[in-house]
Symmetry: C2
Subunit: 481 residues, 2 copies
C-alpha cells in the first residue's frame, strides 16, 4: 500500500466549482508523490509518521516513516497556489513607475528600452531572480512569463523560475516590425529560427546550444536539480502591431507542430485597436488576425480583451481560447474595464493576470481585489441606459463575488494554461500546489478578533493580506518557500 | 539665538504647490519646538550637536547640545505626514469583509451591529488601539475619525489617538432616526446634549464628566502625557437619512457656537440620494440639506460626493466646504467614481480618505493609488460622447498625476481640516509631521536598482510601498513610531 509523505492538518479552502468556496475545517490533506491523495475530515486514531489515518469514507492511508506532518497555524489555512496568467519579467525593474502614459507611448518610452537591456544576461538574471522570488512570496505557484526577444535570456528565465520551484510557462517574445532598431528582430525568418531554438532549449534539447547556462551562473545554481517542474515554452508574439503576417503565420505553424501554448495581447487599448485595423484591413477584427494566423487555439491565452466585440468573444469561445484579465494594468495604463461576467456568460474562458508592470503589483491577491473593483464599476455602468463598455445585450451584470474572483485566480488560471488536471484546486490526484496562509504572521496587515470563523479570516486575507501572510508555498508537493 | 533640537539629513520630498513635487536631495531640515525651522540645501562645516549649520541663504542655525541628528536611509526620504480625512474607527473590526452589499444594506447588515458594540468601552478601546496603530504605521499623522454614537467611546478614541501620538480629529456620531433601536439615540435633544458633553470633554472640561478615562485603563496610559497634540472634537451627523432636521439644525448651531469642524457623508450612492430626496422634498439638493441646517461651512468635510450635481459643487465652493474623496470605498461598496479634476477646476476643495471599512485598506498610500486609478477611468469616460458621471461641461479631464494625488493626501487634507498653516508640507513654521521612508527596509515590497534617482524610489513607494517602508513617524517634531 502506498503511503503519504506529507500530511497537512487544519483548515483547507478552495473552489472546486465556480462561485462555491469549500471550507474544510479540521481537515487532513495527504500528499503522495507530489499529488493530493486525499483531502477531507478525518476519523482516525493514529496520526504519526509511520502511523495511519482513516478518513470519513472509511479509506485508510498509511503515513510514510519520514512523513512530514504540518499543523497549519491556529487561525491559518491552506489554499491552492495562485496562478498568474500574464506578467512580464523584464518589466519588474521599473514596476511602480511610468503611469503617465497610455499603452503605445508607454511601450516605446519605458518598456522597449528596458527590455532591450536583457541582451545582458547578467542583468536579466538579476531582474528574474527578483521577479520570481517576489511572485513566489505572494503565493504564485504557476506563472505565464513574458521574457524579451532575447532567446538566451528567455531560456534563463525558465531555468531560474524552475530552479526556485515555480511551475513556469515562459515565452520568448517575437517582434519584427514597428519596434525600435535596438529592440527588434532582423526578420521573420530569424525570429522564427530563434523561437525554434528557444523551444528546443526549454524542452531540454542541449544540442540547440544556448548561452543561458553560463551566464546564469550569476546567482543561479545551474547544476542543482531545480526545485520546480520543468518550464514549458510558450509561443509569444508580442502583439499584432509588432509582428508581420509572415512571422505570425510561422509562429502559428510552430505552435501546432510542437503542440504549444500561445500567448499575446489583444484589444487592450483603443489606440492599439485602431492601429491593428489599419495594419490589417483584410481582417474582420483584432481577434480574427490571430485566428487567421493559426494563433487562436484552445491553448491560447490573450491578455486584456477589454474592448472585445461580440463576434470576437464568439471566436474565443469557438476556438476555446482564454482571456487573461489584468485589471490593475487596465486601470493604471488607462486602458479600460473588462466585462468579465459577460465573457463568462458567453462561454469565454477567463483567468487573471498581474501584467507587471502595466500593473505595478506582482501579487495575485492584488489581481483578485482589482478584478472585484472593476467588476463593481462595470456592474454600475451595465444597468444604465447609455451604453458604455461595448454592447450590452443579455442579462444584467452581477458583480463578481470574492469566491468567483478567487476561482479565476486558481482554477480559471489552470484551465487557461491547460493544466486543470494538475493544479488550481485540491481534487484527488492534483499536484499539491499550495499556499499556507497565516493571518497572525509577524507584522501581518490583518487584525483578527476572537471567534471569527475561517471564512472571515479568508476574506480579510483576500482584501488586506500580503506576502507577510505567506507562511509556506508548495509546488508539486515540494516546499519551495 | 534659538537652536534646533532635531536635524534631518537626506532627501526631502513634498508638494509645496499642487502638481509640483519638490525633491531636495542632500537637504537639511531643522526642527525647533516641533516646527520646521528650515528645509534646504546646506553650506556648512560643522554639523554636530552643539555645532551649527549654515544654509544656502546664509542663515546660520545653532544645533542644541542635545540635538538629534537623523541621517535618512541611503535611498530613503522624508515626506510630510499623510492626512486621512475620513475613516471609521469601529469599522476596523470587520475591514476586509462584507462587500457583497451596497451602502444602505451594508450599513444595516454589517456596520450598525458592529458599531453598537462600542457601548462596551473595553471592546472599543481594543479596536481603537488596532486602528490608530495601523494608521500610524502607514504614516497617517493626522486623521479625521468617526467614532460611534457613544459619547464616552468617542472621547476614549480621541485619548487613544492623542496618546499614541496622532493629530486626531474625532467625531461622536449622531443618529436619531432610521436606525435600529439598539443603535439609535432616543431623541434629538438627547443627541445634542451628548454632543455638547462630548465637545466639552474633548476640549478638556473634566466637569462634563466622562467614564472614558476609567474604561480606557485597558491598555491606555491615561495618566501619561499624550505623545500627540490634543484631539479636536468634530460635529458628526452620520448622514441626512439618520438625522432629523431638529438634530441637524441643533448640530449646526453647536458647530457655530464652538467654531468646530463638521463632517458627514454626502451623495455617495444613488439609493441614498433618492432617499434623501424623499425625506427632504423641500430641499433643492442633498448638499442643500446640510446647508439649510448650518452644517455646510468652511470647516465642513463631507465624504464621497460621487454624484454631486453642478449646483451642489457650486454650493461647496461658495461655503468653502471640502469633499473627502474615498476612492477605495466607492469601488468596494459599488458606489461610483468621483470626478476629482472637475471638482478642483470648479474650485471645490478636495482631500483624500480611506473610509475604512467601506474601503478595506487603512493606508493613505492605498488612497493615493485608488484615486489615480479612479481618475484614469473617469478620464476615459469623460472624453466620450454619452454622458456618464453627471454633466460634462468644461475642459477635458486630465487624469491626476501621482504628484497631484500626493498633494491631495497631504496639503489637500490639511486645507480641508483647516490646519494648512500647521501640516501638509515642510514650509517654514509648519509642525514637523513627517514619515521617514526606507525603500530598502527589511521585507520591503520595493525593488530598487542601482542609479535610480529619488523620484524613482518615491514613485515605487507610492505604487508598491507599505507599512514596512515606514522607518519613522513624527508628529509635532516628536517621534511617535
Amino acid at each position: 500500500m502506498v503511503a503519504v509523505e506529507l500530511l497537512i492538518r487544519g483548515t483547507v479552502i478552495h473552489t472546486p466549482s465556480f462561485s462555491s468556496l469549500a471550507v474544510l475545517e479540521n481537515a487532513v490533506l495527504g500528499v503522495h508523490d507530489g499529488r493530493v491523495a486525499f483531502c477531507e475530515d478525518a476519523h482516525t486514531e493514529v496520526i504519526d509518521p509511520g502511523g495511519f489515518v482513516t478518513l470519513r469514507t472509511g479509506a485508510r492511508w498509511d503515513l510514510a516513516d519520514a512523513c512530514v506532518i504540518r499543523e497549519l497555524p491556529p487561525r491559518g489555512f491552506v489554499v491552492p497556489g495562485l496562478i498568474d496568467t500574464h506578467t512580464h519579467a523584464p518589466q519588474f525593474k521599473f514596476a511602480g513607475t511610468g503611469y503617465d502614459m497610455q499603452l503605445l507611448d508607454w511601450l516605446t518610452t519605458y518598456t522597449f528600452p528596458s527590455e532591450a537591456k536583457w541582451s545582458d544576461l547578467q542583468h536579466a538574471a538579476r531582474v528574474c531572480h527578483n521577479a520570481v522570488r517576489r511572485t513566489l512570496r505572494h503565493g504564485t505557484t504557476s506563472c505565464l512569463w513574458f521574457a524579451t526577444i532575447h532567446t538566451d535570456a528567455a531560456v534563463q528565465l525558465g531555468r531560474i523560475a524552475a530552479g526556485l520551484g515555480q511551475r513556469a510557462f515562459v515565452g520568448k517574445v517575437n517582434m519584427d516590425r514597428n519596434a525600435p532598431p535596438t529592440y527588434c528582430e532582423a526578420s521573420a525568418a530569424e525570429s522564427l529560427a530563434e523561437t525554434e531554438r528557444f523551444v528546443k532549449l526549454v524542452l531540454g534539447d542541449a544540442a540547440a546550444g544556448g548561452r543561458g547556462a553560463d551566464a546564469a551562473a550569476d546567482g543561479v545554481c545551474v547544476d542543482c536539480a531545480p526545485l520546480g517542474p520543468p518550464p514549458q515554452p510558450v509561443i509569444t508574439p508580442r502583439f499584432v502591431p509588432t509582428c508581420t503576417a509572415e512571422l505570425m503565420a510561422g509562429l502559428g505553424a510552430l505552435a501546432k507542430e510542437h503542440n504549444l501554448l500561445v500567448t499575446s495581447h489583444v484589444s487592450e487599448n483603443e489606440g492599439e485597436i485602431a492601429w491593428v485595423k489599419e495594419l490589417h484591413p483584410e481582417a474582420p477584427s483584432y481577434t480574427a488576425v490571430y485566428d487567421m494566423m493559426g494563433l487562436l487555439t484552445d491553448k491560447t491565452i490573450l491578455a486584456h480583451g477589454v474592448y472585445l466585440r461580440q463576434d470576437e468573444r464568439a471566436l474565443f469561445k469557438a476556438r476555446g481560447a482564454a482571456v487573461s484579465h489584468c485589471p490593475l494594468s487596465n486601470l493604471q495604463l488607462r486602458s479600460g474595464m473588462l466585462n468579465v461576467r459577460r465573457c463568462l456568460e458567453e462561454g469565454v474562458a477567463v483567468a487573471l493576470g498581474t501584467d507587471v508592470s502595466g500593473g505595478a503589483a506582482p501579487s495575485m491577491l492584488s489581481a483578485v481585489r482589482e478584478a472585484l473593483k472593476v467588476s463593481n464599476m462595470v456592474s454600475l455602468a451595465e444597468r444604465r441606459p447609455p451604453q458604455r463598455f461595448g454592447e450590452h445585450e443579455g442579462k444584467p451584470y452581477e458583480p463578481l463575488s470574492y469566491a468567483e474572483a478567487f476561482w479565476l485566480a486558481t482554477v480559471g488560471g489552470a484551465r487557461a494554461l491547460g493544466v486543470e488536471h494538475l493544479t488550481g484546486d485540491f481534487g484527488d490526484g492534483a499536484a499539491f500546489d499550495a499556499v499556507v496562509v497565516d493571518p497572525d504572521a509577524s507584522g501581518s496587515p490583518i487584525d483578527l478578533y476572537e471567534g471569527e470563523p475561517p471564512l472571515e479570516a479568508f476574506q480579510k486575507w483576500i482584501q488586506l493580506g500580503d506576502d507577510r501572510n505567506t507562511a509556506g508555498v508548495y509546488v508539486n508537493g515540494v516546499g519551495v518557500l
